[in-house]
Symmetry: C2
Subunit: 232 residues, 2 copies
DNA sequence: TCCCACGATTGATAATTGTCAAGCCAACAA
DNA sequence: TTGTTGGCTTGACAATTATCAATCGTGGGA
């Protein structure tokens, strides 16, 4: 594994506090690979052989049942995914595919579990990471169960606006069909939802979004830190 | 804290492997309390002062937004809740209320975090617990996004049937209005959903459920271990 | 015993969301 | 340039789900 990737991973909160020798042990069995877009990295139900770290690009976590499919999350650099499956030595609950050309580090799950057993700092870092993940999913759950699709879209846009720096105009960071899936609706419905938000101060031009009336838009969206704040 | 409660808690996977002295330290600040039914134990948004352990009775975890409310989970003995908030020292994402007369142990979050920092076994146990919780929520998410309400109900009934021992007849373990909320639908819809499942081999008499045609019912429900299995 | 409270059910209706088919448009390759 | 592809949009329609109002039934409490 090249030194630069090594450094990037070491700097992750998950790995930064562990003992040098344990980190080295983890990296010995690890390797970095470049994947083109639209490659299925893992398939739900498979045993969790590797902990994955997205170094560049982006990865879609999705799941299918009975001919239906839904996106559950997007993983962006630098972060890991399927940590829970790795720790529990349980099958993946989600499939993963690259959204674009991506560089991914693969760390054998076995090694992760072994180091987890002997390195308290690593174990504690994992706790923090898992607690964070858990709370994110709970928020997503509340978003889904408490809001209509129009409200989910409005709040998604506010979150995206904030991530993009807070300006009135910003770009969507992925294609609308996937956004629809993430928000739990069809692409057609998303299209109509964008229209439905215009009366509340939204303008859409392709992938370019402009909030023309921030106050009115927020009055409609009613964002809530216990659902929409990424940090807590 | 009475010895019996002490023992029950000690036997939980979360606490069973930690050092005696650390467990004692945790228990010193803890106390057990009896609550009547319908008491709000915690409120979302509040700081997480205590890790809760349900010793008897049951607790509903729910959340509200914009005058709507939804049940996210039910906690039954013997298990803990709001572990993630405690660990992260972050506000509760859900409110909790007793569904019936319940005995709850309260362990100061501060103590939990302190012991977590010094006891590797405790930290590892927390990881396992959090990973389990995380995967449960992911399954719930998939259930919500991939299935219609009829399908969610059918699969819920199959899970409940299994929990109850697998016999064709079994009882619902809580009132229908709450079941509706858990399944993400209205009580009226649930009522109709029960009717809608009759053609697939289901009989309902009040709280008594009978699967009259197991094969046909499962053919409709299409249960999937990656959504419906509690263990993995 | 009767009455009340409360959850469950039902019917009527409306809102929301999904499905299907067609058309639009920009990107891209021949 | 032309043709093709794929994503996005639109319209018409159907299915699903929610809302509102009324009723039913059961289990306490007076």
């Amino acid at each position: 594994m090249p030194d630069s990737s090594f450094r990037e991973i070491r700097d992750l909160a998950l790995f930064s506090q562990m003992a040098d020798e344990n980190f080295s042990a983890l990296m010995r069995g690890a390797y970095v690979q470049n994947f083109p877009a639209q490659i299925e990295l893992i398939t739900e139900g498979d045993p969790s052989d590797f902990l994955h770290v997205v170094l560049s690009g982006s990865v879609d976590l999705f799941s299918a049942w009975n001919d239906r499919e839904t996106s559950l999350a997007t993983v962006r650099p630098i972060s890991t995914f399927i940590l829970a499956a790795t720790i529990k030595d349980a099958p993946y609950l989600m499939s993963a595919r690259t959204l674009e050309k991506s560089r991914i580090a693969l760390i054998p799950s076995q090694d992760v579990r072994a180091v987890f057993d002997i390195d308290g700092n690593f174990a504690r870092a994992i706790v923090t990471e898992l607690a964070q993940c858990y709370r994110s999913v709970i928020k997503a759950q509340k978003d889904l169960k408490l809001r209509t699709s129009l409200e989910r879209l409005a709040n998604y846009l506010l979150r995206q606006q904030r991530r993009a720096g807070g300006a009135a105009s910003f770009d969507l960071d992925f294609e609308k069909r996937r956004l629809a899936s993430v928000l739990g609706m069809t692409a057609e419905n998303l299209s109509r939802a964008f229209k439905g938000l215009q009366p509340y101060g939204l303008e859409v031009d392709g992938t370019r979004i402009t909030v023309t009336n921030q106050a009115e838009f927020e009055r409609f969206a009613k964002p809530n830190p216990l659902i929409d704040d990424g940090s807590t």
